[in-house]
C-alpha cells in the first residue's frame, strides 16, 4: 500500500525556505520539516540548485541539517534525461517544472510537497502526487 512514510518523497524549494524563514501563514511547512525524520526524502538536483541560489549561508546549513535527520536521504545525481524533460514540456509544463518533473519521475518519487498551488495542475496523470505541507502532515497522522 502506498504511504508517505514508506514511499520516496521530495519537498519543493518553497517548503524549505518558507519553513526556514518562518513565513506567516505557512506554519505547516516548519511543522513538516520538524517531522522529516519520518520521511524518505529525495533532493532533486533542480531543488538543490535553487537552494544554492536563493538561501543565505545559515539557511543552507539549516536546510542541510534537516536532510541529515531524514529517515532516508537520497540526493539526485546524474544527468536529467532530456527526453523526459521534453515529455513534460510537451504536456504543458513550463521548462523549470518539466525539469523537476523529469527528476522526480526518474528517481521514483511518489509524493511531491509544494506550496505552489499552480504546480502542474494542467497535467492530470503525473507519476507522483502533489500535496501541500498541511496535506502531507495529515497523511503522517493516518
Amino acid at each position: 500500500m502506498s504511504s508517505i512514510r514508506t514511499d520516496l518523497s521530495a519537498l519543493d524549494t518553497n517548503i524549505y525556505l518558507l519553513a526556514t524563514r518562518r513565513v506567516a501563514g505557512f506554519e505547516s511547512t516548519s511543522k513538516l520539516l520538524s517531522r522529516i525524520n519520518e520521511l524518505r526524502v529525495v533532493l532533486p538536483t533542480q531543488v538543490l540548485s535553487e537552494i544554492n541560489n536563493e538561501a543565505l549561508p545559515f539557511e543552507q546549513r539549516t536546510i542541510f541539517a534537516h536532510f541529515k535527520r531524514a529517515k532516508d536521504f537520497i540526493q539526485g545525481i546524474g544527468e536529467t534525461k532530456r527526453d523526459l524533460i521534453a515529455h513534460y514540456k510537451a504536456r504543458g509544463a513550463k521548462k523549470g517544472d518539466a525539469v523537476i518533473c523529469a527528476q522526480l519521475h526518474a528517481a521514483g518519487v511518489k509524493w511531491f510537497v509544494s506550496e505552489n498551488r499552480h504546480f502542474l495542475t494542467e497535467i492530470s496523470d503525473l507519476p507522483f502526487t502533489v500535496l501541500t505541507a498541511a496535506e502531507a502532515l495529515s497523511l503522517l497522522e493516518e
Partner: protein, 97 residues
C-alpha cells in the same frame, strides 16, 4: 567529554532494515555493529542539538540581510512567486535549449 564514559546496556527491538543499514556501514568502516550504532546515535544527537541554534542563526542572518539591502519581508505568496521565477532561470542555465 570524559576519556572513559560509563557504559549502559540497553536492549532495542529494531526493524531488520535498520539493523541491516547499521551493519552495512559498520562493515564499510570495519567497526563492530555496536560501535557503528553508537557513532550514528552521537551524530544524530549532535544534529538535533545544533538545529535550534542553526534556525535562530538563519533567522538573524535573514533579518540582517533584509535590513542591509532595504528589502521588506516578502509574503509567502510573493516568495513562492519569486521561487517560480528562480526555477525557470536555473532550468535555463542548467538545460539550455
Amino acid at each position: 567529554m570524559p576519556a572513559v564514559e560509563d557504559k549502559v546496556s540497553i536492549t532495542l527491538d529494531l526493524p531488520k532494515s535498520v539493523v541491516d543499514g547499521v551493519r552495512r556501514y559498520a562493515d564499510r568502516a570495519r567497526h563492530s555493529v555496536e560501535a557503528e550504532a553508537e557513532q550514528m546515535l552521537r551524530h544524530a544527537i549532535t544534529v538535533r542539538d545544533e538545529l535550534p541554534d542553526l534556525m535562530e542563526q538563519a533567522q538573524r542572518e535573514y533579518d540582517e540581510y533584509r535590513s542591509r539591502t532595504g528589502k521588506s519581508r516578502p509574503t509567502g505568496d510573493e516568495l513562492i512567486e519569486q521561487l517560480r521565477r528562480v526555477r525557470e532561470q536555473v532550468a535555463d542555465e542548467l538545460y539550455p535549449d
